[in-house]
């Protein structure tokens, strides 16, 4: 193996600062939370903000290029030969770091408003800071084990934040589900690491990518990619490991925005982009990842149609959009995938934060059927959401247009027309359900005072877990939010959203200019040149864009016809009720994934555990041991029964012995 260096080694104190500031924040807030009380939020936000500034300041460290090496590399400890750890701050890491700390900072600020008055205000920020630290560990690591550590820690942070309101059983269950599925993903990466270390002898990215060609057979490479992809699928909610993401909406809305939309769930995209050399070398892996991504994109979009909980709609759209990204990096359009990550981080955060404002103002109402007409009540939220919706639908000029277009055209360029078709259809569905959200929420009359059953909401507690929990929790929630506590000023929640709006629109403009766009130039040194060229694409990019637009427009039109016309808005109560009633069970039950997982894994595991614990251990094994003891006792009893104390009985035994001897010798004698 030849050692392949990564980045330019040196001392980068700012890098450590970026990495460790959030950790310091987490420790301080967790330890002194009760003392800090309401100061906790600003402290946490300030630390993350500082990290963001530090990241901006070290822009040049990350983008420096000399002698084919890019970025900053700071070695740290080594466990054993081959297990060397360090930080790597290159362009890919830079993008993620900026998003994590930047969007993270905005969401911290937003949370000061959203979480004000919560009993565990400081703890919330401790967890948020910890999440930022974990996510930075993930993206700044220069090796697979460091990545895995970050991978595990973000899972943990996500667990803490989903289960933040740990007195709700549904939140606790959702947190556990998310964590267990994420551990499943960790295990996948762990296995990949094992194979990599054994074959390559090092965990460093540089060594692995530099020697992948010699060290792996194509089968092994596929196994490594597959194992890594298990991790991606779990973290990025890809089919079939996606079921935790909708449930994760049990967490506070800022958490959903930061972790379950903008950053953590895109870790899978990061991993594949980081391991681009491996994926480039394995066609089967590309195929698999592309297909799974497309499948997730369309499956998530279809489920998005069937949701009534505003956060769940957004959750499924997240799942669907990450499917896009995964599909992109899977087929090899790495920079397109990363671009979509970037644009998505902004517009999805904006959508969630906008939804958070609504939820916050409606006293934790999340069911869109009980909203309506909010355009007038909350114009700011409406504008924010509108921009987000336009961006996610890919309306030209908004950021989503550029990234989605790049992805779709990328699939064509890399020779996957079927994936392209799926992507286009998904874009149409996305437009449909996002506009449905918009119309139902913001247009027409406010339905919050309409009786729930009139809207088809059957039993408050038999709806989605989120609703049930919310209703069960409502009283307590008021205790946190409502009485006594003065709400933080509204601007503290609006300002971050306001900052996000221009980015949601404009960040995509980086991609203007095709091959020579700033975006492509930026990533040119990072990603290997695309193996496929534009000539493979059967249609020119412009035509592709037009097709997508047409489909999207059709989706929007359908949504308008069903929800946006005057007639529809006038009879919205009855219509929503009818729609709720007619919703296909397969969608309501989310394709029965949860039930299947439950029946296939959860229940058998628990049953096996009960069987072992209450049957095998006490009965079979202990029983076996006891049988040994018992047979000794039984033998004792048997022998004891011979001891009649009767002399004549003993004489009889003697006779028996004599008879045996006699017969034995007679037989032996006869034999000789």
């Amino acid at each position: 193996m030849t050692h392949t260096p990564l980045g330019i080694e040196g001392s980068y104190p700012l890098l450590y600062l970026i990495w460790l500031l959030p950790l310091a924040g987490a420790v301080i807030l967790w330890t002194f939370g009760p003392q800090l009380r309401s100061l906790g939020g600003p402290v946490g936000a300030a630390l993350v903000g500082t990290a963001f500034v530090a990241a901006l300041v070290s822009w040049n460290d990350a983008t420096q290029i000399s002698d084919k090496l890019g970025g900053a590399h700071a070695p740290m400890v080594s466990w054993l030969p081959g297990f060397a750890f360090g930080l790597l701050f290159d362009r890919l890491a830079l993008v993620w770091t900026l998003i994590i700390t930047g969007v993270g900072f905005l969401i911290h600020v937003y949370s000061i408003g959203y979480m004000s008055g919560d009993r565990a205000f400081a703890r919330f920020f401790a967890f948020l800071n910890f999440f930022v630290f974990a996510m930075l560990t993930l993206v700044l690591s220069d090796n697979f084990v460091g990545l895995l550590i970050g991978w595990g820690l973000v899972g943990l942070a996500s667990y803490f934040l989903i289960g933040f309101w740990f007195e709700r059983p549904s939140a606790v269950a959702a947190a556990r589900k998310a964590f267990v599925i994420n551990v499943l993903g960790d295990v996948g990466i762990l296995f990949a690491v094992i194979v990599i270390v054994t074959k390559v002898g090092s965990i460093g990215y540089g060594d692995v990518f530099g020697n992948a060609a010699q060290a792996f057979t194509s089968g092994e490479l596929f196994v490594v990619c597959l194992a890594l992809f298990v991790g991606c699928a779990a973290k990025s909610a890809q089919v079939p490991l996606h079921t935790w993401l909708p449930d994760a909406m049990e967490g506070p809305t800022p958490v959903s925005a930061l972790i379950h939309a903008a950053t953590m769930v895109t870790a899978g995209v990061y991993l594949i982009a980081r391991c681009a050399p491996l994926w480039t070398a394995s066609a089967e892996a590309r195929e698999l990842v592309g297909v799974i991504g497309a499948l997730t994109a369309i499956a998530g979009a279809v489920l998005g149609i069937a949701q009534w909980d505003i956060k769940r709609i957004l959750a499924y759209s997240t799942m669907s959009q990450i499917g896009y990204m995964i599909m992109a990096v899977g087929v090899g359009a790495f920079s397109a995938g990363v671009l979509h990550f970037l644009t998505h981080a902004f517009f999805k955060a904006e959508l969630f934060l906008g939804a958070g404002i609504i939820i916050h103002n409606l006293a934790d109402e999340q069911d869109v059927r009980r909203m309506g007409g909010l355009r007038k009540q909350m114009p700011f939220a409406f504008i924010a959401m509108l921009v987000g919706v336009l961006a996610i639908c890919g309306i030209p000029g908004f950021s989503g247009y550029f990234s989605k277009d790049a992805i779709l055209y990328g699939t064509l360029q890399h020779g996957h027309p079927i994936l392209y078709a799926v992507g286009v259809i998904t874009a149409g569905i996305t437009a449909y359900y996002m506009f449905r959200l918009l119309f139902v929420t913001f247009f027409g009359q406010f339905r919050g005072n309409v009786d729930a059953s009139d809207l088809g909401i059957r039993h408050p507690d038999s709806g989605t877990p989120g609703q049930a929990a919310r209703l069960a929790h409502e009283a307590e929630e008021r205790e946190h939010h409502g009485s006594g506590h003065a709400h933080a000023p509204a601007w503290i929640m609006s300002a971050p959203v306001a900052v996000l709006i221009p980015f949601s629109i404009g960040i995509g403009w980086l991609a203007i200019g095709g091959e020579n766009s700033p975006w492509q130039t930026f990533f040119a040194p990072v990603f290997p040149a695309a193996p496929a060229t534009a000539d493979v694409a059967p249609i020119p990019e412009l035509l592709s864009g037009v097709i997508v637009l047409v489909v999207v427009a059709a989706g929007i039109a359908l949504a308008y016809l069903r929800y946006g016309t005057k007639a529809a808005l006038g009879a919205s109560v009855a219509r929503l009720r009818a729609e709720t009633m007619k919703m296909p069970p397969v969608l309501v039950n989310r394709y029965y994934f949860d039930a299947a997982i439950d029946a296939l894994f959860v229940k058998p595991a628990a049953a096996a555990g009960r069987f072992f614990g209450s049957f095998v251990d006490p009965v079979v094994i202990d029983g076996g041991v006891r049988e040994v003891a018992h047979s000794a006792t039984w033998l004792g009893h048997l022998f004891r029964s011979f001891q009649t104390g009767l002399v004549r009985g003993y004489a009889l035994y003697l006779v028996f012995g004599v008879a045996c001897f006699v017969v034995y010798y007679a037989v032996i004698g006869a034999g000789k």
Binding site: R640, G645, R648
Partner: protein, 106 residues
């Protein structure tokens, strides 16, 4: 003296010895009076003696006689001890029935 002087075949003596021995055995097992049991034991001793003497004659070897002699002395000792035990037991337990004395019962 020629072998033909062994007028009665040796098997007869052995068989007789065996019969007497098992008479003694039966006595020990069936009777519950310790005195009769002791006498049955004497019967067995004598059966053994008969066999020994028969074999001594057959092999013209005096060792058999010596053995028989020793058996007789041992039998005397045994009888003495056995009878002493019977007397002691009778004095203490007031029965002379071995079935009533089962202190070895486990």
């Amino acid at each position: 003296m020629t072998p033909s002087a062994f007028a009665v075949p040796i098997e007869n003596y052995i068989g007789l010895s065996a019969v007497i021995f098992f008479l003694g055995v039966t006595g020990v097992i069936v009777r519950r009076n310790p005195l009769i049991m002791l006498m049955s034991i004497e019967l067995m001793f004598n059966a053994a003696n008969l066999a020994l003497i028969t074999f001594a004659k057959a092999w013209v070897n005096a060792a058999g006689h010596i053995f028989a002699f020793l058996v007789i002395t041992v039998a005397a000792a045994e009888a003495a001890i056995g009878l002493a035990i019977v007397v002691v037991v009778f004095r203490r337990a007031a029965h002379v029935d071995v079935d009533e004395i089962a202190t070895l019962h486990g």
